[in-house]
């Protein structure tokens, strides 16, 4: 068909079918609203209320889905915010008459960066740059939300929702002014294509793209298959996608149609494809290929990084203004299941929930992790673990200073953990001890290696490092001064001796590196008992295996500890009964003064949802805490002293690190108060080290977690919804 004929057909005038009378329209209006009330929004409480994504939302979504006619924009990916707009306007319980309505789409990062004043966002995003939000502002006749305290009715409201999912993040009602002035300053990215990474070039016109946005990935596939044709606007201009020189791992921005999906390939037709490529490697970047994986690491300078909780945990960094981006790609086929690895060499965490990761590529941006900084160098690990093992890079980042930019040096990392190095400082370890057998002079092993083999006969492959070096060796002559750091897979141990080295005094213990710390100041002891008096102290005889006793209640724990030989041994070490110098010796406690040591109230931390867990019991000298001992409780309600935290002048920290009342206050709201609180072991963001957290249950049943002392989170700790937390070991 000729073009002009086609034009003529399309331009041909259509007849106008008869209209119904306007009275019929009025009749329909009178029959009721098109969109019924959305009663779930009545939960929106005070004048300024933040709703955590996902809270009560399934119900809301379900009701809205059931009660509203699905409005327009399912026809285009970029019109995703139109749906949010319709939902907001359908909230007839709150919006009587909308006088002015405006919608914008932006990344969560955009929103956080904008001067939104007191907007109550309580949500932290794992990938704020790739999480898209719809922001809807409505001015007009609005109803007061229940619980509103202002005398005047609100004149405007701003709703923020996750694009595509309609999960409300928060809302702000106000009677101040006629319009939210900050809204006008917000960026609007509705017309912009979505970013993603090329994971496969299927053919010259078809790509598989991992979209950065988890919501879009969920809807269109992870990765999404997109196809160009002659109508696709390709930048840089080229006849086909392949002709642009695009490579796997390149970043692209895409806009595509929902409709017209190819039934065979499942490819969506592309409207826009913009090739962004991989940024050139800068001086403060590095590239290293490891086992067929290409790692590109760069320094990210962004004021959002640092110890500030408002930016979210992704931005928590030991170095203010500095983060690291680590991207990896695989040249071959998708490796299937891989697990993201990130952390410091001594403590690498598997963060399977990290969003920017597939079996073929990964891209994460993180702050400098806790414990990475030693002097002016931060050392961390970025990698992945597949069925063949761990592959990755150890990143040595020279911390930028005035006049000097950051620099990066990459080296191969294959999953082996390196011993902690703390020049000028001491490594703080969490050691589980005493580990029978062999923790008494003369009953242990003759060397570090023998002690480890004896304690863990099932582990045959391990690497030993004399403490303070990263040169592996098992030579007893080299390790004779102890202790030795032992690495096997992702587990780490320490071997040390009690009494003279070599006289069957070596024992091995599970040990995890925590951080480097300054040597504790040693208060000058004022011994009231001479060393010779220790001869009068009857030392505990520690059996090779622990005898469990009831530890279901605090009283049982306190009672059981009195006869617990392991606990008694701990007290002896604090008081220097056997040796004045030992890791637990507290110089402020008179030598041999065991009876002067008392225990405080045990506090239980549950391994939710089981009944098992750990009791933390402070050991005090006078009104000063000396350390914390831990007492296990298995599911049968039995346990024994299993280790200690602190020692050597380190009191082990206050426990619990935040009082219950404050945790409940932080996690509750005026309309949905916290009703239950208990301490549990949990991981924030499903990754990282396990921490002690308050598990809070609100009156509505919603569950939140407060992580006291979370790095960079400030005095209020880190508040996370249940969906962002993983439990269990």
């Amino acid at each position: 068909m000729k073009e002009e004929d086609l034009d003529r057909l399309l331009r041909s005038r259509e007849r106008r079918p008869p209209l119904a009378s306007f009275t019929e329209v009025e009749r329909r209006l009178a029959r009721g609203r098109l969109w019924p009330l959305v009663p779930a929004m009545a939960v929106v409480g005070a004048i300024v209320i933040g709703l955590i994504a996902g809270l009560a939302l399934p119900d809301l979504r379900q009701r809205v889905a059931q009660q509203t006619a699905s409005p327009s924009p399912a026809t285009e990916a970029v019109g995703i915010c139109a749906r949010t707009r319709q939902r907001v306007l359908g909230m007839t319980a709150l919006v009587d008459r909308a006088g002015r309505v405006a919608v914008k789409r932006m990344s969560a990062q955009d929103f956080m960066d904008a001067p939104t004043g007191a907007f109550p966002v309580q949500v932290t995003w794992r990938s704020p740059g790739s999480t898209f939000l719809c922001v809807v502002a409505v001015a007009g006749e609005l109803r007061q939300p229940s619980g509103q305290v202002e005398p005047a009715p609100p004149k405007w409201v701003v709703f923020v929702a996750v694009a595509g999912s309609d999960d409300p993040i928060g809302s702000q009602f106000s009677s101040s002014g006629d319009w939210p002035t900050y809204f006008d300053a917000l960026p609007d990215r509705r017309g912009e294509p979505y970013p993603g990474d090329v994971v496969e070039i299927v053919d010259p016109q078809t790509l598989r793209v991992k979209l950065w946005s988890p919501m879009l990935s969920q809807e269109f596939g992870n990765p999404a298959t997109v196809r160009a044709d002659k109508f696709t606007a390709i930048t840089p201009s080229a006849p086909t996608i392949a002709a642009t020189g695009v490579k796997v791992g390149d970043r692209v921005d895409v806009s595509f149609e929902r409709e017209g999906r190819d039934p065979t390939s499942g490819a969506y037709p592309l409207a826009i494809l913009q090739l962004r490529g991989v940024p050139p490697v800068a001086a403060n970047s590095g590239v290293l290929e490891v086992d067929g994986w290409r790692f590109t690491v760069s320094v990210v300078r962004d004021p959002a990084y640092g110890p500030k909780p408002s930016a979210g945990a992704w931005a928590v960094s030991e170095v203010a203004g500095v983060g690291v981006r680590c991207a990896w790609t695989r040249a071959g086929p998708d490796a299937g299941a891989v697990v993201d690895q990130w952390g410091i060499p001594e403590r690498v965490a598997s963060s399977a929930g990290y969003s920017g990761r597939t079996g073929a590529s990964g891209d994460r941006q993180s702050g400098i992790p806790e414990g990475a900084v030693r002097g002016n160098v931060a050392t961390m690990v970025c990698g992945l673990r597949d069925s063949a093992g761990a592959h990755g890079v150890a990143i040595d980042l020279t911390i930028p200073s005035v006049g000097h930019d950051a620099s990066i040096r990459l080296s191969r990392w294959s999953g082996s953990l390196r011993p902690p190095q703390c020049p000028g400082q001491l490594p703080q370890l969490t050691v589980a001890h005493p580990p029978p057998p062999g923790d008494q002079p003369g009953t242990g092993a003759a060397s570090a290696e023998e002690a480890f083999r004896r304690a863990y006969p099932a582990i045959t492959e391990f690497t030993m490092f004399p403490f303070g070096t990263d040169q592996p060796t098992r030579d007893p002559q080299v390790i004779k001064q102890g202790p030795a750091w032992i690495v096997t897979g992702t587990d780490t141990f320490i071997a040390q001796y009690i009494g003279p080295s070599g006289l069957n005094s070596w024992s091995a213990h599970p040990a995890k590196f925590v951080r480097c710390m300054d040597p504790p100041s040693r208060p000058s002891p004022t011994p009231t008992i001479s060393p010779t008096d220790c001869s009068a102290v009857v030392q505990a005889v520690v059996p090779p295996t622990a005898t469990l006793y009831p530890t279901r209640t605090a009283a049982e724990v306190t009672g059981g500890l009195k006869n617990d030989p392991y606990f008694r041994r701990t007290l002896e070490d604090i008081a220097g009964v056997r040796q004045d110098a030992n890791p637990l010796r507290d110089a402020g406690v008179p030598r041999c003064a065991i009876e002067a040591l008392t225990t405080g109230d045990p506090v239980f931390v549950r391994r939710y949802p089981s009944d098992a867990g750990v009791w933390y019991v402070p050991v005090n000298y006078g009104d000063r805490q000396v350390l914390l001992v831990t007492v296990g409780r298995n599911e049968g309600g039995l346990g024994a002293s299993g280790g200690s935290i602190g020692g050597g002048g380190d009191p082990g920290g206050a426990f619990p690190p935040m009082i219950r009342a404050k945790a409940m206050q932080l996690a509750g709201t005026s309309t949905d108060a916290a009703v239950l609180a208990e301490l549990v072991f949990a991981r924030a963001y499903e990754s990282g080290p396990e921490r002690v957290a308050w598990r809070i249950v609100r009156a509505s049943g919603a569950v939140f977690y407060v992580f006291p002392g979370y790095p960079g989170a400030g005095a209020d700790g880190l508040l996370l919804p249940e969906s962002e937390v993983s439990l269990g070991s």
Binding site: L9, L10, P17, L19, V25, R28, L270, A271, I272
Partner: protein, 176 residues
Amino acid sequence: MRSGSPQAQARSLTGEALDWRYVYERFGPELSAFVYRLTADEEVAKDLVQDTFVKAIRRQGTLADHTAVRAWLYRIAANVVMDWRRRRALLSFVPFIGSEHAPERSSDTAALVRQALRSIPAAQAVALILTYHEGFSRSEVAAMLALPEETVKTRIARGRKSFEASYLRLQRGLAG
């Protein structure tokens, strides 16, 4: 003033509240043609135009600039039609619905155009009609549908291709 002149329209539409009876009489017929072209069913078109106005009246507060009422009505109508097409696509899998009017079948060119438009993706059909039949510019269509202009451009281009193929197929079917 109820003149059909653009000036009169602007004056009458910039008041405090819209005279909806006037707006209905003024724009209803052309919206009816627009919807009819997309649905190829008179009864459905009549029904959907009413839907369009009910929705518009309900949301009149969201119209910041009353002079833009025509484009705004087209936007609502386009969404109403696309919703209807989606629902209809779902219903077509359910037997014995019975209440749907059978689409027209005619050798008339206009009917073929309607049938061809109805058989291509709704988003493409809307872009084609708004551009060629209603005379909106590409940028106006983009603003109306909250889309990048490039997307509208590709929809029009793909729509032309789809429309041509569909039209020729229908034509051959009738001839055969």
